[in-house]
Subunit: 312 residues, 2 copies
């Protein structure tokens, strides 16, 4: 199939996604054109999904990969408390890949885009030795209401949504609910919106593992943190998996000790997991000792994970 | 170097770029946060730059690759008549690449970002078998003033900026001004701003070659086109290179027959190259015959080119 035909096919699929009123021009021009509403801030993130690193063709269908590629970016929007608006999808695939792979990738991506009420507004297409997707998501928040990593204060409580270690357990066992969850992570968009009202003082998504991600949040806020021994470990998972496993795509957030934080938000459980303290920025302690982040680092060892922190 | 250190280094480099007042949060959070001004539309594009396809490590320095990766996206902003605001840069590189490659890539990218008055606001970083960059650019235009591919009308004149075939000539000879131009294309940002005032009825950038790109513009506008025999062929280039060579990153635009189009805009020559006609949408004729686009198509044959049309 020629590129022009492929693009026409993607464009037809994109028509199945939502069309937010702000989107003036979508696929088909040099750029997508977006007309922001008054009093809204826009948030932007981009994330790679790479064959052999975030997925394998043996275990992930094309649909799974498309879904995952968008979910990884949407999770960052959730962490900012943003409403999804649109995405741009860059996809590089081997020239000899089976013809069905590409439309199935887009079907997976579009199924999650529809569920999230966002448009597929553009992207790029190229051939490459392995499959690499890069998905840019734009979301909106009321002016000044974006949740950042920089607002945690000493005395704040630390919370995590859902359970931790599910994805690492799924990757280890390749079966059951944990494996299904690893294949199709659920970005916590509704929880993110609810966090704006708590209000959370800081938030981020758990993509590289609690130990590394909490350290990052503390570094940006200029604070230290102490974790409790009561982590919401996923059923069947180990403490190690909960502490250092990546790709859970739960939200990590802080709120002042006076804030009323319910036991669940938008149907997802919320657990207090520690306290923000004065101390060296980025220091995380557990059971009285500094906790070393063993979570995934793309340039330190191989494995699967989100590989960012640079992000957006 | 660990990813955290690499990210800190990129963050330090990013401080050398412009900081538009709309950018509230840049690198270091889950998302970049942007506060649009009243009465502005935002435009978005994303483009891959892939080793072995758009550049070679033997012929392109890391600085060249960083520069090129941003130039390719900026050219799309120019085609919309947009002012650059910020970019997100996703970069996948082999784990064993020499340590100096990465900061030099960012230096090249940042030199062009500074020149263009835009911020480096985020991105992603991963390891991969070959070097793949995906650069998302956001620009702004006064409300309703974005130049699109869809506004050309029968009777409009067709224009191209600069000269055509330069990049193809440079790729063939690998020396002289044409080769330097191939390595460091100049996105026509100032010309794009001037086109808003002509006004141009449609515009796009010449990334895949005149024959294919004009066909795309005509298809989006629902019109046909006839090219004159007086194309601004680059000195030393062939008609073939001017007609089908990609990566010139000049602008292709149309204006009504009544519009006053000067012989140069922002110091760049402008040449009338044909007329828009009624006819089958996308039909381009030259010397009385339909012109077959031989320009680069990622999925039809190999070579170097921009490989989009899907874009943004």
């Amino acid at each position: 199939m020629r590129e022009t035909q492929i693009v026409e096919r993607i464009r037809a699929l994109a028509r199945e996604t939502a069309h937010p009123p702000q989107l003036i021009t979508g696929i088909g021009d040099d750029c997508a054109v977006f007309r922001p509403r008054a009093h809204e801030d826009l948030v932007f993130t981009t994330d790679f999904t790479i064959e052999g690193r975030h997925f394998l063709r043996e275990t992930h269908t094309a649909f799974d990969v498309g879904y995952l590629a968008l979910a990884r970016s949407l999770s960052d929007l959730a962490a900012m408390g943003a409403d999804p608006a649109f995405c741009l999808v860059s996809l590089a695939i081997p020239a000899g890949i089976e013809a069905r792979w590409l439309p199935r990738f887009y079907r997976g991506l579009i199924s999650l885009a529809r569920e999230s009420g966002m448009a597929l507004a553009g992207g790029d297409l190229a051939s490459s030795g392995c499959i690499i997707a890069d998905v840019m998501c734009c979301g909106s928040v009321p002016r000044g209401k974006a949740l950042t990593r920089g607002g945690a204060k000493p005395g704040d409580s630390i919370y995590a949504t859902g359970s931790l270690g599910t994805s690492a357990l799924g990757l280890a066992t390749r079966r059951g609910a944990a494996w299904r969850r690893h294949l199709r992570p659920q970005p916590r968009l509704a929880v993110g919106l609810a966090l704006r009202n708590i209000p959370a003082t800081s938030a981020m998504d758990l993509s590289d593992g609690l130990s590394l991600d909490l350290k990052r949040l503390c570094r940006e806020s200029g604070v230290a943190a102490d974790l409790t021994d009561d982590l919401p470990i996923a059923k069947g998972a180990t403490l190690e998996q909960a502490m250092h496993g990546g790709e859970d795509y739960e939200l990590l957030f802080t709120a002042s000790a006076q804030a009323r934080v319910p036991g669940s938000l938008a149907g997802v459980s919320v657990t207090g997991i520690g306290k923000i303290q004065r101390g060296r920025a980025g220091l995380v302690t557990f059971r009285g000792k500094p906790l070393e982040p063993l979570a995934f680092d793309h340039f330190a060892r191989s494995g699967a994970g989100k590989g960012t922190g640079h992000p957006s």
